[in-house]
């Protein structure tokens, strides 16, 4: 068994000190209290600040426990996620001319957290709150590909054949997921509803953790070219919006 890592022990000591003092502390106080050289203490608090575990008061430059610590142990609230994504989801629907979905993993399905109508004036029903299958939708495949810790393994899923195009073999699904990881988005060429396609990209919070997926939904022939590739304009818009939302989630 490898030995304890000194810098992690020291970081833990800094956090305990900040949490136990009840007021913001200056760098010199931290260094003195833990008997550390000033540059060492500075490196530790700066790193902790960068990951969000320590906050620095802008006026006094003193340090205190960061808001990132409170989030540990809590799942990201899905309604916070919607609030952070709403403007960009609207912008994506406006620029792509397609409907936009936002989903999170819940048990063994995708839960739709947000839905923006396709902006074409047609009658549509709000689908927020619905459950979608992980293996047969772009949102689900995106979450399987990019959030493997939070989702079941493909081999453990019920690969129900929703359409003739649904992936019903775990090995094939694994290949789809590998492709998705490689190009940064997951696709659905009518695997849940015949003719309805989708493309979805991951939403990342602090530390790159995937907390949800943002997807375009529409007629498969509008999303994909004759060779089955996602139209470049849509890929760019989708990835751009998911990047912007991820920035807002930091």
């Amino acid at each position: 068994m490898p030995g304890a890592i000194q810098s992690i022990e020291r970081a833990a000591a800094v956090l305990r000190l900040l949490g136990g003092t009840g007021r913001p502390l200056g760098l010199n106080e931290i260094a003195a209290a833990l008997d550390l050289p000033r540059p060492t203490a500075h490196g530790i608090v700066r790193t902790l600040r960068d990951v969000g575990f320590v906050d620095q008061d802008m006026d006094s430059n003193r340090y205190m426990l960061g808001s990132g610590l409170q989030e540990l142990g809590h799942l990201r609230d899905r309604h916070d996620l919607r609030a952070a994504a709403m403007n960009w989801a609207d912008a994506l629907a406006g620029s792509s001319g397609l409907a936009v979905h936002l989903g999170v993993v819940e048990h063994r399905t995708v839960r739709l957290v947000h839905h923006v109508f396709r902006p074409d004036g047609s009658h549509q029903r709000l689908r927020t709150g619905e459950e979608l299958p992980l293996h047969a939708t772009a949102l689900g495949k995106c979450l399987l590909a990019f959030a493997p810790v939070a989702t079941p393994r493909p081999g453990d899923l019920d690969l129900h054949p929703w359409t003739g195009r649904t992936c019903t073999v775990a090995a094939t699904l694994e290949k789809h997921l590998a492709t998705a990881r490689h190009r940064g988005w997951a696709g659905d060429t009518g695997e849940f509803e015949a003719g309805v396609g989708g493309a979805a990209a991951p939403l990342r919070a602090s530390g790159g953790v995937v907390v949800g997926a943002l997807g375009l939904v529409g007629p498969a022939e509008e999303l994909f070219g004759v060779g089955g590739e996602l139209r470049p304009r849509l890929a760019e818009q989708l990835l751009g919006a998911s990047r912007e939302i991820s920035v807002a989630l930091l």
């Binding site: 309604h79 916070d80 609207d90 629907a93 406006g94 923006v116 902006p119 549509q124 029903r125």
Partner: protein
């Protein structure tokens, strides 16, 4: 060649923002700065008009930079502003004489009470359409004239000018002293039919006519910027809630929108007809996209103002600590199936439309051991739904045109549980447009119409796209019972504040 765009300044209660819109109404860039809230005493809320102006000079270039555009790419600039906030300034130095008194400030209660005691209420109401209240700008101007050293003498000598915020900003940008007619309709000084300052009302409030801006339509070239955006025409201005009416494309009589922010404001287009309210609503100018000479393009509106909606959620978050973000109230409310019999009436500073009970205070009723945090969260959200319902009932009664669907915008439209509840209690579909910036978009529309960037409002109607719709799904019996419970809860909020004898 880059597409030409319209710039919009949204000068709000807490911040000043600049947004750029393309021809299809899509937002291209936004920049924002908050300004300080000054609370000299309880009930007093002031802004520094100089700080607001400095923020304008910073957010406008910032928005252009973020879009990679310059002043030459702009066809015009529109302004939407916090309404009823009152500024006086020296025309020679360009400096405000005092801090601006904001719309939330209640220092004019004495002036308003005296108007009523002196029997001026019916005259004010007949001419301005407004029941005297601390909400409007005129009494604030009177207060400033009475209390700021040199204000009255300066005004009479023509050295001191009055304006609501759009008037102040247009003057700073172009040097012209004008106000838009929607803002003028909130002063309690304008004849709401003739669209002119009323000598009678000026006499009642002892306001020198010389200090007033010229009343102009909502869309016309008021002047050309000499600073910030040199050469760009300032070509539109509307009070923020009227701007949202325009941004939501409510161009036909009977069309209504509700903006859910700190408070909520429901406005219905009543066309050329000034609808008088016998149910606690405010008749106001909706917008005017024509000529003053023939009153063309004049549209009136009825308004219902709800004081606490988003601010109740903020209270639940900040003062009670029940949630850590506003959005999490939906999660908490989702942990229970219904309100468990609990109702919250947020009459924190009295009740506004349609009941207007200044002596009411907040109550929470129906508490039992069964009630948990989830029920309270639900009661907080339901309060917004029922207050909307009361305003819509008053609208239906006053306008004679029933609301058949409601367009919504503002931050609280992110809350789907709330929007579904609003649809359920109104029993009409609730619709959210793509892009939640109806206020800024409305000001941009006015500015673009004035310079021919858009030919008419029908073109703008085509820019409105439904992003979400909530259909009513509540059982009618349940709706009726809950409506009754809400009414009983509101009755318990009345008369809590007792005015000391002799006050």
């Amino acid at each position: 060649m880059t597409e030409r765009v319209v710039a919009s300044i949204d000068q709000g209660t807490t911040s000043t923002r600049c947004l750029l819109f393309n021809r299809s109404g899509r937002m291209l860039a936004v920049a924002q700065l908050e300004h300080r809230q000054h609370y000299p005493q309880p009930g007093l809320v002031e802004h520094d008009a100089g700080e607001i102006w400095r923020n304008v000079t910073r957010v406008v270039p910032a928005a252009l930079r973020s879009a990679g555009l310059g002043p030459e790419d702009l066809v015009g600039l529109g302004i939407a502003n916090q309404r009823e906030t009152t500024v006086i300034w020296n025309r020679h130095t360009g400096e405000p004489l005092a801090r601006a008194i904001t719309w939330q400030d209640t220092r004019t209660d004495g002036i308003v009470a005296r108007l009523a005691e002196d029997g001026h209420g019916p005259l004010v109401e007949e001419i301005s359409g407004l029941t005297p209240a601390t909400y409007y700008a005129g009494p604030r101007l009177r207060w400033l004239l009475d209390h700021v050293p040199g204000a009255r003498e300066g005004a009479e000598a023509g050295d001191v000018l009055f304006g609501t915020v759009e008037s102040w900003l247009i003057w700073k940008l172009t040097g012209r002293h004008v106000t838009d007619v929607t803002n003028a309709s909130r002063t309690m000084l304008m004849d709401i039919r003739r669209l002119e300052w009323s000598d009678k009302l000026l006499d009642v409030l002892e306001v020198p006519r010389r200090m007033l801006p010229e009343i102009r339509p909502s869309a016309e070239v008021y002047g050309t910027c000499t600073t910030v955006l040199p050469g760009v025409p300032v070509s539109g201005a509307l009070g923020d809630q009227q701007a949202a009416l325009v941004g939501q494309a409510c161009f036909a009589p009977g069309e209504a929108k509700c903006t859910y922010g700190t408070g909520a404001f429901l406005l219905m287009n009543t066309g050329e007809r000034l609808a008088r309210s016998t149910h606690g609503l405010i008749p106001t100018v909706g917008y005017m996209f024509g000529e003053l000479s023939d009153r063309s393009g004049l549209v009136y509106a009825l308004e219902g103002a709800i004081a606490m909606t988003g601010s109740l959620v903020q209270w639940f978050r900040d003062s009670l600590g029940m949630i850590s973000t506003a959005a999490q109230i939906e999660t908490l409310a989702g942990t229970v199936a219904d309100n468990g019999g609990c109702y919250i009436v947020p009459a924190f500073s009295g009740l506004y439309s349609p009941r207007w009970h200044p002596d009411a205070r907040g109550v929470m009723v129906g508490l039992t051991s069964f009630i948990n945090r989830g029920h309270l969260a639900r009661a907080v959200l339901e309060a917004t739904g029922w207050q909307t319902r009361e305003v819509v009932e008053a609208m239906d009664a006053d306008s004679g045109v029933p609301v058949t669907r409601l367009k919504v915008d503002g931050g609280m439209t992110a809350n789907h549980l709330l929007m579904q509840f609003v649809a359920d209690v109104l029993d009409v579909p609730v619709e959210r447009p793509l892009g939640s910036e109806a206020v800024s978009l409305g000001a941009a529309y006015a500015a673009g119409l004035a310079v021919g960037h858009w030919s008419d409002v029908e073109v703008l109607r085509a820019n409105w796209h439904r992003a979400a719709a909530w259909e009513p799904a509540m059982d009618p019996d349940l709706r009726r019972r809950e409506r009754e419970n809400w009414g009983r809860a509101v009755n318990r909020s009345y008369g809590w504040v007792q005015t000391p004898a002799g006050d």
